[in-house]
């Protein structure tokens, strides 16, 4: 059995899932989507992801994406954080990219590919 590259989306828009499936699955990747509210730790109940795309789910709570950019519970899995407010991620955290909504999907695809290349 060959393990496919798995891009896991946590929360966010249906459109993001649809676009990534349309673009990445023809390239042999697997795109899955989970709701953080449905599982305390999506990593436990799903196939181990190669990259996680996290949507800031807090509604109107201000810059609250620190929890998303912190390693736990994702361990060393590379991640793209999509937020509503711009925050500065640590320059030493090479496993994390930050996009501020509304973003261009080309940027998201580039960020995912970049993380996959470097890990």
């Amino acid at each position: 059995m060959v393990n496919r590259t798995n891009v896991m989306l946590v929360d966010g828009l249906t459109e993001t899932e649809e676009v990534l499936k349309a673009v990445l699955e023809p390239r042999g990747m697997l795109v899955t989507r989970v709701r953080s509210t449905h599982s305390t730790n999506p990593l436990v109940s799903h196939e181990a992801p190669s990259v996680v795309v996290l949507h800031e789910s807090e509604r109107l709570q201000g810059p609250s994406s620190q929890g998303l950019t912190s390693p736990a519970p994702w361990g060393n899995v590379p991640r793209v954080v999509i937020g509503h407010y711009h925050t500065h991620t640590s320059s030493t955290d090479r496993g994390c990219r930050y996009l501020s909504q509304p973003f261009q999907y080309a940027e998201l695809v580039t960020a995912i590919e970049s993380l996959l290349r470097s890990h």
Binding site: D11, L13, E15, T16, R59, H84, F103, Q104, Y105
Partner: protein, 572 residues
């Protein structure tokens, strides 16, 4: 021009304000009324308000359940500012704003400067010591102390009652207090000079006079006295018959027939809110015929000081409430802008996703990508349409556009609209339409939007389920004359602690997919129809939303009153 307002304090249209002019205003359930009240206890043609000779009169039009003013059943009643009208279950506050212009008040007051000639001087002063017992003052009166103390307490009781009565205008509140003051101290004229909240200026705000006083005669108010009262914080009693050494010859009050005057500070908790000025005159011809001069008494000055204090507290409270409302309004505007920006950003993000796929499809010659992208763009076009319609529905003060309609047809239209949303998921949408639904007057576009918002939420709730099921049912209860639409789903349900907030504006449990407008809009539409929306969600899962509103028809007979005030004889 004659102008009055009716503010709905209780009932279907709570919070709405209607401005009425001199034209006859009809009130009732029927569509032909100037003010339509969608209340099953209101007759089709219930009452009317006529304006003539400066008076607004409410006439009951032999309604089934009657009309009430201040809790009393009436046939015909001359309305005064502050009166509360009850028609069916709706209570409205009447405010006559015709003579409430500040400029008109200023025209009736002569603010006399120190250079103006006058002859009055201070006869006595009284410090505005808080809590000074009026009963003790009464004990030195020539009148029975018990009677005076009782009168004073009655006066203060009535003024306190006025001070806390529902009102939307500080001027109207002060006017009612001043009208009572005239009676309480037996003055001819009275005015209040109130400090503007954003400057140090003290300006005439309300004026009152007893019947019989020439209403065209301007009331002289000495700025010397006013300034003294403000500076010393004392109540002052003046007369033009005596001399007072505290004022120079050039200062003091006017001739113009004033015999005596009293001026007291309106001392609030933290600052001076203004002054009350009252006067009493004994015309020269009256005195020449041997009439005794009309005078004030010291206990009246004490009473006026207490009234000044009550008035100041009323002004402070009113301004505090006003500031609170302004702050809440600003916070609500900020929240609305932030929330709508968030929603528009999500829609824009969706459009960008669709555009990205279309662009890629065009570049690579892949039609399937173009179609997929176009589907996403269209979906977000629908979302922005829905958002705009919800915003318009929520923001507008509007009367539902009632027309005789079939509820089942509306539900079928909802079903057709949501069909497109479930083509990519295994969700089943079913209709359970009652065959006994009568035609009814309601706003079909509004009701469609109310049901659509609830049904869309139900579809979203079962989105991830493999056996998602949404049922939309219609019902009619002939006993209560209630129409109902029940939307049920077998999704995860809504936790009990979230249920009480789900109808609040900008509350959403759908994360980035929800605007927090949908259920608030549905609730508003139901309230416009005199109905309500409720939710039930058991712990085991699933959810039931019930939209219920009274059937309205051209049938003239309203339902019998169940909670009307005790009926009394007509009061006027």
């Amino acid at each position: 021009m004659a102008k009055a307002t009716l503010l709905v304090l209780q009932g279907v249209d709570q919070g709405k304000r209607a401005t009425i002019g001199p034209q006859t205003v009809s009130l009732g359930r029927g569509p032909q009324n100037t003010l339509r009240i969608l209340d099953t206890e209101v007759s089709r043609n219930h009452a009317e308000i006529l304006y003539a000779d400066g008076t607004w009169t409410l006439h009951d039009l032999e309604s089934s359940n009657g009309s009430f003013v201040n809790g009393q059943s009436i046939r015909s009643y001359a309305l005064r500012t502050g009166d509360q009208l009850q028609i069916g279950r709706t209570i409205m506050l009447f405010s006559d704003s015709t003579s409430n212009e500040t400029s008109q008040i200023a025209d009736r007051i002569d603010l006399l400067s120190a250079d103006d000639p006058d002859r009055s001087q201070i006869v006595g002063t009284l410090a505005s010591a808080e809590g000074k017992p009026l009963s003790r003052q009464a004990s030195v009166s020539r009148i029975s102390p018990v009677v005076t103390a009782d009168d004073n307490l009655q006066t203060l009781y009535r003024i306190s009652e006025e001070a806390v009565r529902a009102t939307d205008s500080l001027d109207l509140l002060l006017q009612r207090v001043l009208d009572l003051t005239i009676d309480a101290v037996s003055a001819d004229r009275a005015c209040m000079l109130v400090a503007e909240s954003r400057s140090d200026r003290i300006l005439p705000r309300v004026f009152s006079h007893r019947p019989g006083v020439n209403p065209n005669e301007r009331m002289p108010v000495s700025t010397s006295i006013v300034n003294y009262v403000i500076a010393q914080g004392e109540g002052v009693w003046t007369s033009d018959a005596l001399h007072d050494s505290r004022f120079d010859a050039g200062q003091s009050i006017v001739q113009a027939g004033i015999r005596e005057a009293m001026c007291v500070p309106m001392q609030g908790r933290y600052e001076l809110m203004g002054v009350i000025y009252v006067d009493i005159t004994s015309p020269a011809d009256y005195l020449l015929k041997g009439g005794a001069p009309r005078t004030f008494r010291e206990e009246l000055l004490t009473l006026l000081l207490a009234i000044g204090r009550q008035s100041a507290l009323a002004v402070e409270n009113f301004r505090y409430q006003e500031a609170l409302v302004t702050a809440e309004r600003l916070a609500a505007v900020g929240q609305a802008i932030a929330s709508l920006s968030h929603d528009i950003k999500n829609i824009l993000q969706g459009v960008r996703g669709g555009s990205y796929l279309i662009d890629m499809g065009l570049n690579e010659g892949k039609e399937d990508l173009i179609r997929k992208g176009w589907t996403i763009v269209e979906r977000n076009q629908d979302r922005i349409y829905g958002l705009v319609m919800d915003m318009l529905t929520y923001s507008k003060e509007r009367q539902p556009a009632l027309q005789e309609s079939n509820l089942n047809s509306v539900v079928e239209e909802v079903s057709r609209l949501i069909e497109g949303r479930v083509t990519d998921q295994p969700t089943k949408v079913e209709m359970d339409l009652s065959e006994d639904l009568p035609l009814s007057l309601f706003d079909p576009d509004g009701v469609l939007r109310a049901i659509l918002n609830v049904a869309t939420n139900a579809i979203d709730a079962v989105e991830e389920s493999d056996d998602g099921r949404v049922v939309i049912a219609t019902r009619f209860d002939p006993n209560s004359e209630l129409l109902s639409v029940i939307v049920t789903d077998n999704g995860p349900g809504i936790p009990a602690n979230e249920q009480k907030h789900i109808f609040d504006l900008f509350e959403s449990t759908k994360g980035s997919r929800g605007t927090g407008l949908g259920l608030a809009v549905s609730q508003k539409i139901m309230q416009e129809h005199g109905g309500e929306i409720s939710v039930a969600s058991p712990e085991a899962g699933g959810c039931e939303f019930r939209l219920t509103w009274p059937r309205i028809s051209d049938d003239p007979a309203p339902l019998e009153h169940t909670n009307a005030p005790t009926s009394n004889e007509p009061t006027s």
